[in-house]
């Protein structure tokens, strides 16, 4: 739109000559065509080279390929769910409160963007791998941590619950709300013990069984979640900051409780940012290669996700098989792109309609 000269033969001062415009447009279209469109078409051409029947067999009759699709469908949604919780919590904290370390937290959220995925994968190998810090122990008797892990989760839930339910206003705190250290210390110990002792007493978890993180699904989920962490939070923070707290205060003054406030006011307000973040996060999670490559160990049919499977088939000169899986990821990417464009359009149309009508009415 901006490239066309202004109507009526008027040329705006900043407009370049027609030849510059055409040359730049040509270069841009040529580059995008060479680097994006042609390879994209090639993926489908290669995948379907031996006919649709072979394409189908390559995807669903090859056991290892089918397993990789299933694994990706486990890893990506799990990482997405984790990041949804972390992302909303982090965005909420950064947008609504000021606290010591706020700037640091903002910077740390961006860290996965700047760290090479391979390094991210290596971090997890260094911690959980056999040569890592906790790897040997996990291999020897990994399941013995489970009671403690679950009890710690119960303790965390208790502390969070206490902090969430504690009256904000100092004078309204009575009894246990006035003694945070005592309550968290004593109550926390009780909760921890109550969660831990039955597990130990009834011997729920096996002994001497190794808990695999690296070269197993948990490691894949951890690595993927780490890499895709920024997407949800990054989308939400500016939206939440722009909206501010006034609507929430209004809801409180109208009698809404915290639960109603969150679901009826906050979530609808950040809905588009949230959907946008989920779409981008999911696309990245499904396509993640580097970090997953390091922690997966390439056990065919067990720890190969779709991108890893593509690479393996490619190395084995199974081009139709490789491109068949690649075409699936490409379809995910295209769907993401379409969803993104659709969302942008819907949002723009909504804004325009609102602006038009308010302008009409105000006039």
């Amino acid at each position: 739109m901006n490239a066309s000269p202004a109507p009526g033969g008027l040329r705006r001062a900043q407009a370049d000559s027609v030849w510059v415009q055409r040359a730049l447009t040509f270069v841009a279209v040529a580059v995008v065509g060479m680097l994006v469109v042609v390879p994209l078409i090639n993926v489908f051409a290669q995948a379907l080279a031996d006919g649709i029947g072979t394409y189908w067999r390559n995807l669903f009759d090859d056991h290892d390929t089918f397993q990789s699709i299933k694994l990706t469908l486990i890893v990506a949604p799990t990482a997405l769910a984790l990041n949804l919780v972390f992302g909303v919590a982090a965005a909420w904290a950064i947008a609504k409160f000021t606290f010591p370390g706020r700037t640091l937290l903002t910077a740390l959220i961006d860290l996965p963007f700047s760290v090479s995925p391979v390094v991210a994968g290596l971090i997890f190998v260094l911690i959980f791998g056999l040569q890592g810090y906790v790897g040997p122990f996990l291999r020897r008797d990994g399941y013995s941590v489970m009671p403690y892990l679950l009890s710690t989760l119960a303790l965390a839930a208790f502390v969070l619950g206490y902090l969430a339910l504690r009256p904000v206003h100092r004078e309204a705190r009575r009894g246990i709300w006035n003694r945070p250290f005592l309550t968290i210390g004593l109550g926390g110990a009780l909760v921890f013990a109550a969660a831990l002792l039955p597990q130990l007493y009834f011997d729920i978890w096996p002994h001497g069984k190794s808990l695999k993180i690296i070269f197993a699904t948990p490691g894949l989920i951890l690595a993927t979640a780490f890499i895709t962490f920024p997407f949800v939070a990054r989308e939400l923070i500016p939206v939440m900051e722009a909206i501010g707290v006034e609507e929430e205060l209004a809801a409180v003054s109208l009698g809404a409780n915290g639960w109603q406030l969150f679901w009826q006011i906050t979530v609808p307000n950040v809905k588009w940012g949230l959907i946008y973040g989920i779409i981008l996060c999911n696309a990245r999670a499904m396509g993640e290669f580097g970090a997953v490559y390091v922690v997966s160990g390439h056990i065919a049919g067990q720890t190969d996700t779709m991108p890893l499977r593509i690479e393996k088939l490619f190395q084995e000169y199974n081009m139709p098989g490789s491109f068949a899986v690649a075409s699936l990821l490409t379809l995910v990417a295209l769907a993401t792109l379409l969803a993104k464009i659709g969302l942008d359009r819907a949002e723009a149309a909504r804004r325009r309609a609102a602006a038009d009508e308010s302008g009409e009415l105000a006039a």
Binding site: E247, A251, G255, P268, A354
Partner: protein, 351 residues
């Protein structure tokens, strides 16, 4: 419902927003909190709403202590300066929200929403979104939303602040009529004295985290309690001087003015409204002092002129009614004699 504020203090860091403020709001009044920005009026309103909590002091309503009651339990209707309408809900949904979160029966909500829409005369807009409304319409929706759940107190934070002058005028009259109909105890914050005088039954003038004066608009206007109140309400010129034996000596001059309400000897400030400043071509020897005309504006029913005292160069302004006759000598640069009438003298606490 009556509201009582008892010795409330509030600080934000090192900034004192409210310093030992006490106030009674009788049931059914429409009260204005009037003051310059930073005087603590909005903080006081938010403390009454429960959106802020006082550091010390008590807030009670109908004799019941509500200092530590949560905002959602207070049954207050709060109208925000920028309306804070829920942008993803229609007008009708916005108005229904307070009833919805309190789990009112569906048909009751519908009935009440229709009532409120009729009250604000916007039924034809009930399915619009806030983004599609004009400022004045948004303001009325915000008011309807606050009133829908039948609050015992209605609180309005600068309700007309973001509107243009004409809409503002209409809404003022409308709010006044509305209050005469529904009689809910209402408190609104404003920095516009004209607005406070036109709308409110009682006016509370605030400055620097304290209440300067409480009274009906005419009381506050006729008998300002402090120099600040006098200066804040209307166009006033102030003069420094000293009081001795109930006579005010203007600066170092030999002009003496009578003090109507006796105050202690010492430094003082005399405040005179601009229309009480008379300008004469000749001195009649009756406490007038010389000044030079700086600027004259004859557009409008009042002639406004800016003057500069000959003795110390301080500025003052006078407003003269066109029909009372304007001296022909009132031209920039001319020397005139200034007579002060209806002078109010206050002890000068600053010096």
């Amino acid at each position: 419902m009556s509201i009582t504020i008892d010795r409330v203090c509030k600080r934000f860091g090192s900034f004192v927003a409210l310093d030992d403020v006490s106030l009674d709001v009788p049931d059914g009044t429409l009260l204005a909190l009037l003051g310059p920005s930073g005087s603590g009026k909005t903080t006081l309103l938010r403390i009454i709403a429960g959106l802020e909590i006082a550091d010390s002091g008590r807030v009670s309503s109908d004799g019941q202590d509500i200092t530590h009651q949560a905002a959602r339990d207070r049954k207050v209707g709060f109208v925000f300066q920028h309306y804070a309408l829920f942008r993803h809900m229609t007008v009708a949904e916005n108005i229904a929200y307070g009833l919805k979160v309190r789990k009112a029966p569906r048909d009751e909500i519908k009935k009440r929403v229709d009532e409120m829409l009729e009250l604000i005369r916007l039924d034809f807009l009930k399915n619009r979104y806030p983004g599609q409304l004009s400022g004045g319409q948004r303001q009325r929706v915000a008011l309807a939303r606050a009133l829908a759940a039948q609050p015992s107190v209605l609180l309005l934070d600068e309700p007309f602040g973001a509107l243009d002058a004409k809409v503002r005028q209409e809404l003022r009259k409308w709010i006044r009529r509305l209050h005469d109909e529904i009689h809910v105890t209402s408190i609104f914050v404003t920095h516009d004295q004209e607005e406070a005088f036109e709308v409110a039954d009682r006016v509370v003038v605030m400055n620097h985290a304290r209440i300067e004066q409480v009274g009906t608009p005419s009381e506050v206007y006729a008998k300002p309690a402090t120099a600040f109140v006098n200066q804040f309400l209307g166009n006033v010129s102030s003069f420094r001087g000293t009081v001795r034996d109930n006579r005010f000596r203007l600066g170092e001059t030999s002009t003496y003015l009578p003090v109507r309400e006796p105050i202690a000897n010492g430094p003082a400030i005399a405040c005179v409204r601009h229309h009480d400043i008379k300008v004469h071509a000749q001195s009649d020897g009756n406490g007038a002092f010389p000044a030079r005309v700086r600027h004259v504006n004859t557009a409008g029913a009042l002639v406004r002129c800016e003057l500069e005292r000959i003795d110390d160069g301080t500025r003052l302004a006078a407003e003269i009614c066109q029909e009372h006759g304007v001296p022909a000598s009132l031209r920039p640069g001319a020397q005139v004699f200034v007579e002060l009438t209806n002078v109010r003298v206050f002890a000068d606490a600053a010096s």
